[in-house]
Symmetry: C2
Subunit: 332 residues, 2 copies
Amino acid sequence: MAENHGKEEVVERPDDFHIDVPSDDDDNNANINIIEPFKLKAGLSVNSKSSLLILNQEINMPWVTFIKIWNSTSLHVCADGGSNRLLAYINKFANSTHDDDCKKFKPDYIVGDLDSITDKTRKFYSDMKEEVKILLQETQYSTDLMKSLSLINLHFNFHKELINSLKEFDEHDGIEKLNKNLNKNLGFEKLSLIDVYILGGIGGRFDQTIHSINQLYHISSYYHNKLHLTFFNRDFEDLVLLIPKGLNFVKIHKQQIGSKKNAKHNRVVGLLPIGKEVIINTKGLKYDVTNWKSSIDSKVSTNNLIAGDNGFEMECTEDIVINFQIFDNDFA
Amino acid sequence: MAENHGKEEVVERPDDFHIDVPSDDDDNNANINIIEPFKLKAGLSVNSKSSLLILNQEINMPWVTFIKIWNSTSLHVCADGGSNRLLAYINKFANSTHDDDCKKFKPDYIVGDLDSITDKTRKFYSDMKEEVKILLQETQYSTDLMKSLSLINLHFNFHKELINSLKEFDEHDGIEKLNKNLNKNLGFEKLSLIDVYILGGIGGRFDQTIHSINQLYHISSYYHNKLHLTFFNRDFEDLVLLIPKGLNFVKIHKQQIGSKKNAKHNRVVGLLPIGKEVIINTKGLKYDVTNWKSSIDSKVSTNNLIAGDNGFEMECTEDIVINFQIFDNDFA
């Protein structure tokens, strides 16, 4: 990749552009961070410590996709009213086995200030006793999203301590306090890597969207990049994640064959410097950039496309938000 | 307001909190910028130079609201495929007078690279001849949103020059070139104030949302705050605009009576420092802040509420994005 000084450039690439995946054997690649935004696509839980988190927004995706994502994640959490959305979604696909489905696709935890969960939802999941843990956390100084992420980290990294704490539970902010203490005592470098896939944080009321982006930055920094968040945008059109500063290779399938006359469509990507100004170098995009200074109040690369056959390289001087178009067959 | 140094504080206010509207007669208020996010609510075109711009996203709002917004704006522009959305929306409310409605709610201009407008839409509006001007602007180095905003500025500030230019029209980037030259020659301080209300820029694919925010900053700076953009979020749940740095008073109705047991609901507001770090002072919010340092990768005030009966004061060291919840009766 080019150095971060010198001439600022944009180069237009052909739609097909060969790019090598960095090999593990090459010592030069030791400092390359490999990003796989669609690793759930394989239908396998690549990371056994992976979680699906459902926030309070209508779920809108094909049923087969939902099943695939559910089965590829090992922990399922609803943030407060997310539990209503889960039941409503399953209801939409109700058939003779509806009641079975509701019980099969049950969350492990429901957590939050519980001002949104309806009496009906609460009763339904309460009847499952220990199988669904409903945890009240009253504090208004953190959101249901923040409470859920603390719980997910506790579940995977401090399971014994979490279960013990539930015996004498501080319903104000017990989860976040416990999480903070345990992380600090253990040291962040010893935490396990966790993937969290989130439904419902982006595309609704705009301050909620920005809260999700705020958490994307905060969580990456607080957990020293050990907790990876991927937000599915509403209507499942694209997904949103953070690319850490430094040298990255994004492994991604660039194209799908469209229904119209078998036309090929390249995948849309946006490089979104929401936090601060970033200098970006890429190799493998339709509009590749060199030494490109980007910030929200100057220029931003939106509606770009992936041209590299195996993905693209991206070097950035700060963490940067990125979104990728989802194709119909990505999770089918 | 407090000075921008000293102790950082958050104060919780009661839901009802009296706050005076700055009087025009008081010389001390000369430097206060008055913001009225819901001035269209009155159903009057407060500013005769106001425009409705429809982008390529499904329109989703009550029909009475649409009519009110349409009638309160004097210029109507569709960006490329926005024209399909307009026809589809009117179609949804079709009745015996459907064809009349389609002709009544016709855009003055359709502009863009025209890769999204369907043949059917194009024919429908072409048949209206001079009444609907369809303008091809091919360049891929600016978006349909950017092309539309240049056109709107030309229409209100340089109408004669615009009409003349249409005789020998540069279909690559004629509009933006003309706009740039005329603005520069006239001087930005002499431009008229224009309000643009935009449907469809926020809440869809995330890079498109961020492009809208990028334009919010860019347009405010380029036009020296003479072109005001207000984005209606998808599903009409909230609106998004930019508050300029300095001392502002936001005139806004804080409450509506809910349907449930006549409960009062305070209006949700988010202070969203997407561009850069901002120091904020407010007076009249549920969670008022003093000397509060806010940035997207540290802390952000989302899900705040308006408590002041006439609105609230807000002082900020940089331009800041803000969103306001829309109530059912705001445009009814």
